[in-house]
Symmetry: C2
DNA sequence: CTGAAAGCGCTAACAT
DNA sequence: ATGTTAGCGCTTTCAG
């Protein structure tokens, strides 16, 4: 039981500036000046105060500080669907990095695609007086944010558009990317293309589906060329769906997987049965080039989207009051077609 | 220019409880009671106050609230190396999820393996009065945290041990996992095993190297059986190193890659040249089962580690003052050896 | 059950 | 250059 142990009972009261002032034999205000590195303090006093600060282990209470000064909290909130997903962790990582460059900390919260949770999280963050909010919308209506925006909370949406609130938004060209992917399949001669879809409840999925239709129209092909399989929620379901389609009548010669989890499931099944069917997936992912069979992907730069969104947010925080902008980032088809 | 636009100039002052009180024709304290859902308020007054709250778009200032009440901020800080890495984003995800269950928000900050940055971030988080800290140590000495701990900030370390501060810690059995992996290679008859290492500056790497030595000693084999290649910092370097070793004299028959980035680079090179050399990697990763050649991995449960650490943190926050504990989580060898 | 006053820890605006 | 006073927005006394 030496003095280096930290017995739970010995909780010390946190010293305040008053305590430091008393310890240093100066006034409260002088401590404040020293702690805030104001230049107009006698060097000798500075030293004395700093010594007391160190001796007492004083740490300024930033809550009290920002409350009194009416300053910003140097905090921004990020509301995403689920941090565990690499797509969102990339966003969080970039947002935190850009925030750090602005001496700001990032609070991350996951809505899990629940609009009500999103609302609660946003309000919670506002009551913590974040300077701004980065939101990947789960809900379709964000008018509840209007009062907060009017009171100075800056908001930037990313990956999906917001509803009922004009605000900066950064999106991916989902529709254009899907269109290009399917156009490439059509150009390669495919006329039976299966489209593996999760749920049209999500904006990005609807857009990608629209892109498929665009490509068919562009080529003046009937809609039946694309066989839409909905409800493919995970890799296992994707594998099953691929199997079912290949074993059924008129099996497709190509698959368009509308997100990377579906793609992974499809790869696995196509590889397992040695199928020569073509596969294009929306979303690139790590190691996609190391898959056991060739895999074409619609790639886009998630980090760039997050960077742009976060920079827009800090522009706003620093006083930019121009009209809200929407920026759309392009996609890139990485063609790794099967040998025919 | 309709009224739905949000012209930048029209910034409204945030209403306070005083404003709500005036609007509702009650006292400040009654507003406070209603906002805090205290039961002892006349129903009619509650309705009136709630109406004013809605009309003015009032949101309680949580900073002021916690300052005055001396309550917790319902915030915990997570200091990791880099959020972009899936290992750390898994930790962040679990920490945020567990925190959410405790009605707490998570502030995430990356130290980028810089002890000085870690120190700064920790102090910043403390000045924001987080209730607790989850830290993956970058530095070797955490005694600077002692005053904060004494003043009630709870701290749990994970993945790496702290230095100079007794505190709860959750670790992975790096040494045991490496020992088991190399033992399996030895049992399979390998006597020229290349160990691909990043840097021994990091605790986990040193431990895994110790595990390699343990396995050799267990088998009474000379240390030369393991050929240590240090400085393998990324997949590209791993591929180069593998190539160099295979093209050199006495090429190894097996490789032990000490983390998953190295593993990926090694897989790629072994596959490219159709080598039959065995490969075992520390760290499992997504899609490891879909690699173009068999790959054995030392797997462990990152999420379980993070969950345990975060739960320990909340136990502390809720008043647990028992002696600091260190928990070590086991690893699991997932054998997918090459066909011999 | 409701309200007036005091004060959390700090900084802005004035003194001196 | 230093100190005094007031008060940020809220909750905690303590009166009524």
């Amino acid at each position: 039981m030496n003095s280096s142990s930290l017995p739970g009972g010995s909780r010390v009261k946190r010293p305040t500036m008053v305590d430091v002032a008393r310890h240093a034999g100066v006034s409260l205000k002088t401590v404040s000046r020293v702690v805030n590195a104001e230049p107009t303090v006698n060097t000798e006093l500075v030293d004395r105060v700093l010594a007391s600060v160190a001796a007492l282990g004083f740490q300024r209470n930033q809550l009290a500080s920002t409350l009194r000064a009416g300053r910003r909290t140097a905090t921004v909130g990020l509301v995403i669907e689920e941090l565990a997903n690499p797509f969102y962790s990339t966003i969080a990582s970039v947002a935190a990095e850009v925030a750090a460059r602005h001496d700001t900390m990032l609070i991350t919260a996951s809505s899990e695609e629940d609009p009500e949770a999103e609302r609660r999280l946003v309000f919670d963050l506002c009551s913590r007086r974040v300077d701004g909010l980065l939101v990947v919308p789960a809900g379709a209506d964000h008018s509840f944010l209007r009062p907060e925006v009017e009171m100075g909370v800056q908001v930037v949406f990313l990956d999906r558009p917001s509803g009922g609130l004009p605000a900066d938004t950064v999106l991916i060209d989902n529709r254009g990317g899907a269109r290009e992917a399917v156009a490439a399949l059509i150009a390669a001669g495919h006329r039976r293309i299966a489209v593996l879809l999760d749920s049209v409840a999500v904006y990005t999925m609807r857009e990608r589906l629209e892109g498929v239709r665009d490509a068919l129209e562009d080529a003046r092909l009937p809609p039946e060329v694309a066989r839409i399989a909905e409800g493919v929620a995970d890799p296992a379901r994707a594998a099953e769906t691929v199997a079912g389609l290949l074993d059924g009548p008129n099996p497709p010669t190509a698959f368009f997987a509308v997100n990377n989890r579906i793609t992974v499931g499809a790869v696995q099944e196509l590889w397992r049965r040695g199928s020569g069917a073509e596969l294009v997936g929306f979303d690139d992912f790590e190691l996609s080039h190391l898959m056991p069979r060739p895999l074409t992907v619609v790639a886009y730069d998630t980090a760039a989207m997050a960077r742009r969104a976060t920079e827009m947010l800090f522009d706003r925080i620093r006083g930019d009051r121009s009209a809200p902008r929407t920026e759309v980032l392009g996609t890139r088809l990485v063609w790794r077609g099967v040998r025919r």
